[in-house]
Amino acid sequence: MMAKNIIEKIWDTHVVHQEDGKPDLLYIDLHLIHEVTSPQAFEGLRLAGRKVRRPDLCFATMDHNVPTKNLPTINDPIAKKQITTLAENAKEFGIQLADIGHPDQGIVHVIGPELGLTQPGKTIVCGDSHTSTHGAFGALAFGIGTSEVEHVLSTQTLWQNKPKTMEIRVNGKLGVGVAAKDIILAIIAKWGIGVGTGHIVEFTGEAIRSLSMEERMTICNMSIEAGAKAGLISPDEKTVEFLRGRRHAPKEFQFEEAAEYWLNLASDQGSTYDIVLEINADEIEPIVTWGTNPSMGTGVSKTVPTSADYESETDKHALRKALEYMGLEEGQSIESIEIQHVFIGSCTNSRISDLRTAASIIEGKKIHPGVRGIVVPGSWSTKKAAEEEGLHKIFLDAGFEWRESGCSACLGMNEDTIPSGERCASTSNRNFEGRQGAGARTHLVSPAMAAAAAIEGHFVDVRKYVKQAQEV
């Protein structure tokens, strides 16, 4: 039998219909829904008199707009309308909803895995580009637009051209204090934000295998920032153990049966890809982005690039534009960049292990007087778990604000925005112009790097802190 990679295996088991001159008609196993990209889809169903084909395969929550303090009050009337519209739609069409105030509520890409809805071998879609997160479990998960949301609601399928496949192999071992976030930022800095366009990426290699499930989610989450249709990682024992006992995971003997099926989905020895890229983990240092897209990043020990580093006029122009927006000088050292805000949160880095890592750096220290820091757990249950461990006390004692879960300052749709001209060390995924607020300047970093920057008031190599901790 021909060796197949996991992408081919999942694709082939989901084709409902295939014919020449058309994309494949793919079955969708799980449809996650949030308030921002769904109202027009439900309205489309109503106007056409259509039903939701499989409400049992849908799960909805509110995350993008929800306030992270003073709940349940929602001051913004337009946001409130969008939130109540989702609640009404879920009720009308019979879809499970984790509403504001519900113990399952949270960022959709955090709660999917927490509830065990995310499973290996599933096709998973959501009207959100960071749906790629669920690929960490060996699922084929990708973001779709609102018209496609409507299509999935009506038919539980999507017409999809089979993308090309790409392997990104991360060899060797990651250094102490270097995070999963640094791996994915290093990959994007090395090959650019368009490298994955038209491809589904499988992340492989020793460094990926040694990551926890939560760290794998960080990697897959940002595969969209490399332009990839989806990013995934073959399941292994860690995947199985993460899912064991989760509410929506199979139970008892069915779980063992499922686990066997899941493990068999892993890419076969000798399977091939259209493109293979390799990077060595030991070359990766903590990364800080200095520009206005996620590929504009470099090691914390380095400097902001200069025009001389680029050949084409377009690239030189892009550098100047980015630095003008960011208020940085060519050749400036990364450690000299002073920050005014720290945001620990988002579907990239708001899980319990992210909060533990940040807390371990912060513990017993105070955040810099010039810095305002907020911590936004990815879900209610993450928040609860963190409080049971006392992590909230560490953050509060250091001077951070401890908030309710939601997308928050990652995109600033709620009140959590960064003022114009001010800088934020952010554990989120996008540093586009205006992403965190009009004129706001975003630097993407790992939770550990964000925590260290909060203490010092500027970027600093977190490996110093980690070494100190080890010596103690």
Binding site: G21, G194, G434
Partner: protein, 196 residues
């Protein structure tokens, strides 16, 4: 959706690469629950200053490009978020065609669902059209049927397009209605689907 075949208009040269969906439609405008009315928010932070006045240097504000239906940009257009509000804003503003050397996948898909024709030309061809359009207003005639972009100077640029999406755009079909024809096949699949 509105069918599309022939579009003749002056091009709007947006000489930037990696134009992301946060720039196309900023997050503060995503809270509406309608599909229409997003055109006035297109490229908001590039078009308007903090007081809401037009920034005269920005290409969409130049009088010679008002009423243009064809946007031309550089590599990786539409990267970032899956928000369909981006193509909705582009369409509502009046563009029917976007030309670039490459598009981000989700944005590219979203165009086809809304009657917007995304045309991939080579980087050299896009550079050429952009420099013509930046020097003087430059009109082109787009034909989806012929898969060509013909400049007012007679220069013809050919493009490839997936035949399935070409058919959808030419006819303005409702994809969901088409998929309902496969209802039995979907039911057959569901009967034997592996699900835990």
């Amino acid at each position: 959706m509105e069918p599309i075949n022939q579009v003749t208009s002056v091009i709007t040269p947006l000489d930037r690469k990696n134009v992301d969906t946060d720039q196309i439609i900023s997050k503060e405008f995503l809270k509406r629950i309608e599909r229409t009315g997003f055109g006035r928010f297109l490229f908001h932070h590039w078009r308007f200053d903090e007081q809401g006045n037009e920034i005269p240097d920005f290409v969409l504000n130049k009088p010679e490009f008002k009423g243009s239906q064809i946007l031309v940009a550089q590599d990786n257009f539409g990267c970032g978020s899956s928000r369909e509000h981006a193509p909705w804003a582009i369409l509502d503003y009046g563009f029917r065609v976007v030309v670039a050397p490459s598009f981000a996948d989700i944005f590219h898909n979203n165009c086809f669902k809304n009657g917007i024709l995304p045309i991939k030309l080579t980087e050299t061809e896009c550079d050429e059209i952009l420099s013509k359009g930046l020097a003087n207003p430059y009109s082109v005639d787009v034909s989806l049927e012929e898969q060509t972009v013909t400049g007012e100077d007679g220069k013809v640029y050919s493009f490839n397009i997936d035949p399935y999406y070409k058919e959808m755009l030419l006819n303005g079909w409702d994809e969901i209605a088409l998929t309902f024809k496969y209802d039995e096949k979907i039911a057959e699949y569901e009967a034997k689907r592996i699900a835990y």
